[in-house]
Symmetry: C2
Subunit: 241 residues, 2 copies
DNA sequence: GTCTATAGAGAGATAGAC
DNA sequence: GTCTATCTCTCTATAGAC
């Protein structure tokens, strides 16, 4: 249902600014705790103007989720549908996941919240449908393709794993890594988004994936998963948002 | 600061009932979305009566967190301070973690939410201090003891891992496993709390821990991490809350 | 201990001017 | 497109009777 609201260049900029501000605030505070007033302030417009672009708060939130998940899907899809054996494409997809979360850490918190909300309550889109599900569906379509392909792949058959189990472990580990670190070690200078620390995490995840697939991974001879604050920042300085 | 409010036997029962109902609702819906009215309804009292036991909503929430985390701490502490080599106690602690989450799944969602909230916003106790931190502190004390002990332990020294990294991966994986499964596969009969599925997850986690410690784990010769809905429920029937 | 009743703040939605 | 003004509802917190 493409909203028929055509938008001028200026309007498009405003719309994007609203989306960006909302993404950050919804991620940091959650749906209920986020005030439209604060979103408006961040964009330096008035609250009522938001309604011009998004019917109501829920629609704005859904637009944010759609945006964030679409970006992720694109990355994962690219990795999974590339050429080459599954045993390479699957780790590539895991790496793409980690990198995307690093670039767009809002995703980590939004996902954390959506998962926490899931199953019961009010996290429902306008039509009373669970919000997360709609945005996750494309990933299942992807997964189904891969599983099908995997049934003819000796590596996958041998590993004989439960994709949901695997995906949920990876997702949980990364999302916790990004969001929980600064939380639990305030003042320790922890920066999970710093390129070197993110790389360490990526390494750990890849290691796990390879192990689950039962194929030799990057860990061979490289015992490096150590990422405390004392790591020398010889890489560079940015990596935050 | 022990509240000086002495409570009669009847009062104690009411208090516990409020705590239990609040735990479930805060976990399912989050702090902001939970109505004290709903808590009262669940206990079959009137909203105003809650105030007799808990000054306000925030205090009730903090009491819930304190209760849940205290229970966890007890389990982990027991496992970690037992006798025997660290290489056995650490996996035991991981298993205790998984089992506790299985018994008290509220913890998974509460933790998910607290982590998502962390860093920025309003998840602050009365004194303006981050809520999570206070309840997590005892775990750090524990961790510090173990790290100190580990410095003299050849196994630990060799593995040379970052405890925070490890703990966050394990926590993330389990919590996602418990909360994300039913969310992402509604209607698939997924029951992460079912004993057999929980056992499969515990196995996966232990495997990971052993691998990280660089010692032989339970995985040797037992390729069993498969936990889809088709698993025959030959164990038993309960395991839900 | 538990209740009824009410006060009071907050925040989303809407109407309509510019 | 963006604003001001206002309406209305929801929910917490409080006062005080039983």
């Amino acid at each position: 249902m493409p909203e028929a609201v055509r938008i001028s260049p200026r309007g498009e900029r405003t719309r994007q600014a609203i989306l960006a501000a909302a993404e950050r605030l919804f991620a940091e505070r959650g749906f209920a705790e986020t005030r439209l007033e604060d979103v408006a302030d961040a964009v330096e417009i008035r609250r009522a103007s938001i309604v011009y672009y998004f019917r109501d708060k829920r629609e704005l939130y859904d637009a944010v989720l759609a945006d964030v998940f679409a970006g992720l899907h694109e990355r994962i899809e690219t990795a999974l549908l590339a050429t080459g054996p599954l045993a390479r494409r699957i780790p590539a997809a895991a790496a793409a996941w980690v990198d995307y979360v690093g670039e767009r850490p809002s995703l980590a918190r939004l996902l954390l919240r959506e998962v926490a909300d899931s199953g019961y309550r009010a996290g429902l889109a306008r039509d009373g449908e669970p919000a997360l599900l709609a945005h996750i569906q494309p990933f299942f379509a992807l997964a189904a393709r891969i599983v099908e392909e995997g049934e003819a792949d000796p590596v996958l058959v041998r590993a004989h794993l439960d994709p949901v189990h695997v995906a949920s472990s990876i997702a949980g580990a990364t999302v916790f890594f990004v969001a929980a670190m600064p939380a639990l070690l305030p003042g320790h200078g922890f920066e999970p988004l710093r390129p070197d620390q993110l790389a360490a995490h990526r390494h750990q995840i890849l290691d796990l994936v390879h192990r689950l697939l039962g194929i030799p991974g990057p860990s061979v001879g490289t015992p490096r998963p150590r990422a405390d604050a004392s790591t020398d920042a010889s890489t560079d300085g940015h990596g935050s948002r």
